[in-house]
């Protein structure tokens, strides 16, 4: 269906080395808000059970890209395809997302899980067992009755992750799930993500840490000012970056150069 070889300069097809059709694909995705291009020419393929890390400086458009892929923000150009077809509500149900700041309902931890399962169409008789299973996986059983909004940041992030996974998605979007967590909580979240991946869930995750991208990523996409600057295997790109922005970002120079450039422009 997609003869996108002409686009391979963006690197989208370096990511898709498997021959299976992609689970989720973006083609020439663009988002322009009030004349400002926030995302442009984004091509990427996400294959089943693979882990894609989205990297980039603050404000590069990582969160917006995730929102467009999941269908929370309406793109202004290009297409997003689920198994080769345009996205619809059924397709969104096969996806789950954990936000940069977790959204907790004003209920107990257990009720938060039950609500998500109900929304996902799980039968009432099965919800409790599924919720219990998710609690155990996230090691939150002892907090089941606690109001969710009283949990610590790390516990809330684990609950958000457990809630997303309880619905058994085929793909999981994560927006900086370990930002502002301590090393132990980060490890717990990374373990949950790895466990989900072993169960066959595709992972699309925004992160600011090259180390985390190496640990958890099969592939990476590096965004620079709303466009894909580099894409490919995580191990390769992060050790031998070919684009200037990724090189600069890895060396921690990106921010400094940006400020110098904008100063020169003025």
């Amino acid at each position: 269906m997609f003869s996108g070889s002409a686009r391979s300069k963006t690197g989208a097809f370096a990511v898709s080395q498997s021959l299976d059709p992609p689970l989720l694909a973006a083609r020439d995705l663009a988002l322009t808000v009030r004349g400002e291009p926030l995302l442009r020419n984004v091509d990427l393929d996400i294959h089943a059970a693979r882990r894609l890390m989205i990297l980039g400086a603050n404000g590069a458009g990582k969160s917006l890209l995730l929102r467009c892929l999941h269908g929370l923000t309406r793109r202004t150009g290009g297409g997003v395809y689920w198994r080769g077809r345009p996205m619809d509500r059924a397709a969104r149900r096969a996806q789950a997302m954990v936000f940069q700041r977790p959204v907790m309902l004003r209920r107990s931890v257990l009720s938060n899980l039950l609500f998500a399962l109900g929304a996902a169409g799980v039968r009432k008789s099965e919800r409790r067992a599924r919720a219990q299973e998710a609690l155990e996986q996230a090691r939150l059983e002892h907090l089941a009755r606690r109001p969710a909004r009283l949990l610590s940041g790390g516990e809330q992030q684990r609950l958000a992750l457990a809630r997303a996974l309880a619905c058994r998605p085929e793909i999981l979007f994560l927006d900086e799930p370990t930002a502002s967590l301590d090393p132990a909580a980060t490890l717990a979240v990374e373990q949950l993500i790895s466990a989900a991946h072993s169960d066959g869930v595709a992972i699309v995750m925004v992160t600011h840490e090259a180390g985390q991208a190496r640990r958890l990523g099969d592939d990476i996409v590096f965004l620079h000012r709303g466009a894909v600057a580099e894409a490919g295997r995580a191990a390769h790109c992060l050790s031998a970056p070919s684009s200037a922005p990724l090189q600069a970002w890895l060396e921690g120079r990106l921010y400094l150069e940006e400020t110098r450039l904008s100063a020169e422009k003025r």
Binding site: R92, V103, L105, R106, R107, F115, A119, P147, R149
Partner: protein, 235 residues
């Protein structure tokens, strides 16, 4: 001075021995307002939440309308309900004028917009916070409506209590449609007006004290509910 002192003493005596006349008036007042507010919640909460949560053409107009109806003058409501219920009105054959049911209807009309308007604000704020999560989970419209009503339960309970406070203290509307008939449609506020004009200050003052006590109790409950909800971070 000693005369006012005597009136106070007589009023408290009426309350303490729970004078049968006083008891009847207070009971009817609470009965009418309780039913009016319960019905107003059944209508106003889902209505307010629907306006707060769903996008539809005319949503802004609906919001403005609710906020305007919130400030309806009670006597105008009374007049409107009177016209509907009077012998020549569309509901005349039901013969409801000058019955407690008529007073319930008047208070219902008065309080429903208040509850709906406040519920809209609360549910809209909640929905703004939850919208992305709901979309991500694929939550359907009815589950969404129910979810914001449930998650706003403590705030909405204080809304219901505010509605109760407003309805129980209202005079004009129930006077017009109830007629303040002895042993039939005499509630606290209308009795206070009547007894004062008749010079029977003992009963008037006793009713006034009871009315104040009810208002205070309602406020105390509202504050306690809010405090316990705060502790669970549910507000």
């Amino acid at each position: 001075m000693s005369e006012i002192g005597a009136i106070f003493r007589a009023a408290f005596e009426l309350i303490l021995r729970w004078d049968s006349n006083l008891g009847e008036i207070v009971t009817l007042s609470l009965y009418v307002t309780f039913f009016a507010v319960a019905l107003a919640c059944c209508i106003g909460l889902p209505l307010g939440a629907a306006v707060g949560v769903f996008r539809f053409p005319g949503r802004t107009a609906a919001t403005v309308l609710l906020n305007t109806l919130m400030g309806l003058p009670p006597v105008v409501v009374g007049l409107g309900v009177y016209l509907m219920l009077s012998a020549s009105g569309p509901l005349g054959p039901l013969r409801l004028l000058y019955t407690p049911t008529a007073m319930i209807i008047a208070q219902l009309v008065l309080v429903t917009p208040i509850i709906a308007a406040l519920a809209r604000q609360i549910t809209e704020d909640l929905n703004r916070e939850y919208a992305d999560q709901f979309t991500s989970l694929g939550v359907g419209p009815f589950r969404k409506l129910w979810a914001v009503l449930w998650d706003g339960r403590y705030s909405l309970l204080t809304v219901a209590l505010a509605g109760f406070g407003r309805a129980v203290a209202e005079v004009g509307a129930v006077m017009i449609v109830g007629g303040n008939i002895n042993h039939v449609t005499r509630v606290m506020t209308t009795s206070i007006a009547l007894e004062t004009s008749k010079g029977n200050l003992n009963l008037a003052l006793a009713l006034g004290v009871v009315l104040l006590a009810i208002a205070m109790a309602v406020n105390a409950v509202a504050m306690a509910v809010r405090a316990s909800a705060m502790r669970a971070a549910y507000v």
